[in-house]
């Protein structure tokens, strides 16, 4: 019988399989950042262990780094950006210690690091594909739940906790239970003005935040095939918001075209050998999935979230729902809580919801194509005077490329702030936060209570909707301008 893409990758990585035990899976690429790694390195040190494969490991500083003051003073970039002294962008000594700890650990254990200020620095899920390290057929892990992003290139990629980070550092393997497979088939074509972000928000709204639990999702169908790599990355990124640890898209010409010539992509004879392997990966015609969900792309429109989990999303053209309309008592209670937290009244048109802050960035929508999409809406326009807008590129390479295209000038002319790379307001760990009661339209992936700062209220949107919202001061699509 045929196998799915996920099953083929899994089978190719089983080091050891025994009845009644999880499979021991080999890991091809391990990504590290400052927040979920320090305790793992401590564990290695305490046990007197080394990093087994530093050559399959790479680190970056992203979650906790400031996004101003790194090169905003007309100074040349220095790599790494100093942690101490007048050139240090750190205001918070605890954050600084965490970044310093990563630098020390990487030096001690021989792991390649892209520190702040380095041209290669950026959000971990942006730099993997950018470097060409993310490739079809690989197993990729990171102490971060959005590792599912890398599935866009046909890699089996999933987030892990710190104990597992330590396990991979020490052994380059992970004991894992074979997941079930779910096909998410999106037929037809996305209408004009509907982005990959709208698509994934619609998918999560349909299957629920727990719908993908225990599954690897494989996104299929004509609407997925038609997505450029940036959109595929956006879709796979949010698989975890549907409860799935991993999301996958079969590699095809879009994938190969994307990879060709990247720093770590194979070349010459190795490229041909890799290509043969990659072409063998897509799900066989006679393979079966444990579950399938079918979506008609033509029915979609721009989506925004109204609540406090990513499944609480609706078309922008609709209104805040009435909790009483939910049949399930759990959903009803969750909706009531969410509306209280979000300070929204049932029946209010989503287009009438005013925001204070607009955030464009994150591993969901911080790539060059996302910035282009936002800039094309802002070109020749000003953001509303009541709105603060932060544009935070996903990596320093994205930032450099955007500047080469003049996008930074479009953003600053419109009244937005142009920042250095990092997670920034996606998780409110660095100084970029919402104040209590502030409301944002954000291109990130989580609208949890307090995610962007304690008491902050988040509406998840696409880059296009974010930009239009910044102009009008309330939730809007470019077509509304």
């Amino acid at each position: 019988m045929g196998r799915t893409l996920a099953e083929k990758i899994w089978d190719a990585h089983v080091v050891r399989s025994a009845e009644g035990e999880p499979d021991l899976l080999y890991i091809d690429l391990h990504l590290l950042h400052e927040v979920t790694s320090p305790q793992a390195f401590d564990g290695l040190r305490e046990a007197g262990r080394k990093v087994r494969r530093p050559d399959l490991t790479i680190a970056t500083e992203d979650h906790n780094v400031p996004t101003t003051g790194i090169d905003g003073r007309g100074m040349p970039l220095t790599s790494p950006t100093p942690l101490y002294g007048p050139d240090s962008p750190f205001a918070d000594p605890v954050s600084r210690t965490q970044v310093e700890t990563l630098r020390k650990n990487c030096a001690e254990f021989g792991v390649r690091l892209h520190p702040m200020g380095d041209a290669g620095q950026g959000i971990v899920h942006v730099i993997g594909p950018q470097l060409g390290l993310t490739q079809p057929g690989l197993t990729i892990v990171c102490g971060d739940s959005h590792t599912s992003t890398h599935g866009a290139l046909g890699a089996l990629a999933f987030g892990i906790g710190t104990s597992e980070v330590e396990h991979v550092l020490a052994t380059q393997t992970l004991p894992q239970v074979r997941p079930k497979t779910m096909a998410i088939t999106v037929n037809g074509e996305l209408p004009a003005g509907v982005s990959a972000k709208d698509l994934i928000l619609a998918i999560i709204a349909k299957i629920g935040t727990g719908g993908g639990q225990g599954y690897v999702l494989e996104y299929r169908g004509s609407a997925i095939r038609a997505l450029p790599m940036s959109g595929r990355l956006t879709v796979c990124n949010m698989s975890i918001e549907a409860g799935a640890r991993a999301g996958l898209i079969a590699p095809d010409d879009v994938t190969f075209e994307y990879l060709k010539g990247r720093p770590h992509a194979p070349s010459g004879a190795a490229w041909e050998a890799a290509l043969d392997y990659w072409r063998s990966l897509p799900t066989d015609a006679d393979a079966t999935f444990d579950h399938e969900v079918v979506i008609d792309a033509a029915t979609l429109s721009p989506y925004v979230t109204w609540g406090t989990n990513p499944g609480q999303a609706l078309p922008l053209a609709s209104s805040v729902p009435d909790p009483a309309s939910f049949a399930d008592p759990g959903d009803r209670a969750a909706a009531e809580r969410a509306l209280t937290y979000m300070d929204l009244k049932p029946g209010t048109a989503l287009r009438d919801v005013a925001v204070d802050t607009v955030f464009v960035g994150s591993c969901t929508n911080g790539r060059l194509e996302d910035l282009r999409a936002a800039a094309s809406v802002l070109e020749g326009r000003r953001i509303a005077s009541s709105v603060r807008m932060l544009v935070v590129p996903g990596s320093m390479a994205v930032r450099a490329q955007a500047e080469a295209e003049g996008l930074d000038a479009v953003f600053t002319a419109a009244g937005a702030e142009w920042r250095s790379a990092g997670c920034s307001m996606c998780l409110g760990m660095n100084p970029d936060k919402l104040a209590a009661g502030e409301r944002s339209a954000s291109t990130s992936n989580r609208n949890f209570e307090g995610r962007q700062g304690k008491g902050g209220r988040t509406h998840l949107v696409s880059p296009e909707v974010a930009a239009a919202t910044a102009v009008t001061g309330h939730l809007a699509a470019p077509a509304d301008l």
């Binding site: 080091v15 050891r16 021991l24 046990a47 906790n64 052994t171 406090t308 969750a334 760990m429």
Partner: protein
């Protein structure tokens, strides 16, 4: 890791669904580089509300959390588990868990117990009616008992995870027993695979 065989204690009902790990411990508490001291960040935002369950004196000293559907979704932060154990919890009972959180729990000695929604609700009712209700989480026999409330609910957990938890075994040590197989696998990897070096 501290072994887990059977734990008896008082429980606290958390009647909320979709409690994500950002709620269990907000990002601002993740800056520490140690593994301890995260208890003070546990449910930090909610604990500011005096009526929040963990602030109610009748639940002081509870060691079992009885939560709603989809507990521990979202971020992979193991700090969420460390916050719960640092605060004193040994087990969490819920109808369904976020996958990464559940995995992290079993690595850090916190037992995640899946029970049907109706059983969880019955447990919550019983605890609210009498906060002194003793709840026994018996991993050895895979059963949760609250005898005073007439509750005896079997739960499923795979043999391997159960054995590891009961022995308090460190995964890395177990895997390193297979170092030869790992080395053999490494020799078979194709040469076109990427390296970071």
């Amino acid at each position: 890791m501290e072994p887990f065989v059977t734990h008896a204690g008082r429980a606290v009902p958390l009647r909320r669904s979709n409690v994500d790990t950002d709620q269990i411990i907000p990002a601002e508490y993740l800056k520490q580089v140690s593994r301890t001291g995260f208890g003070k960040g546990l449910f930090a935002a909610w604990r500011e509300d005096p009526s929040f369950v963990l602030n109610q004196p009748q639940y002081d000293g509870a060691t079992i959390l009885v939560a709603g559907m989809d507990f521990g979704t979202g971020s992979s932060r193991e700090h969420a588990v460390w916050a719960l154990t640092d605060y004193g919890f040994r087990a969490v009972i819920a109808p369904r868990f976020g996958d990464i959180f559940r995995g992290n729990s079993t690595k850090a000695g916190l037992l995640p117990v899946i029970l049907p929604e109706a059983t969880v609700a019955a447990l919550q009712d019983a605890i609210e009616a009498d906060p002194a209700t003793e709840v026994v989480v018996d991993l050895d026999n895979r059963v949760v008992r609250a005898e005073a409330a007439g509750i005896k609910a079997p739960f499923e957990i795979d043999n391997y995870t159960r054995w590891r938890l009961m022995e308090g075994l460190d995964d890395i040590g177990l895997t390193l027993r297979h170092a030869d197989e790992i080395a053999a696998f490494e020799r078979s990897r194709p040469s076109f695979l990427p390296v970071t070096a």
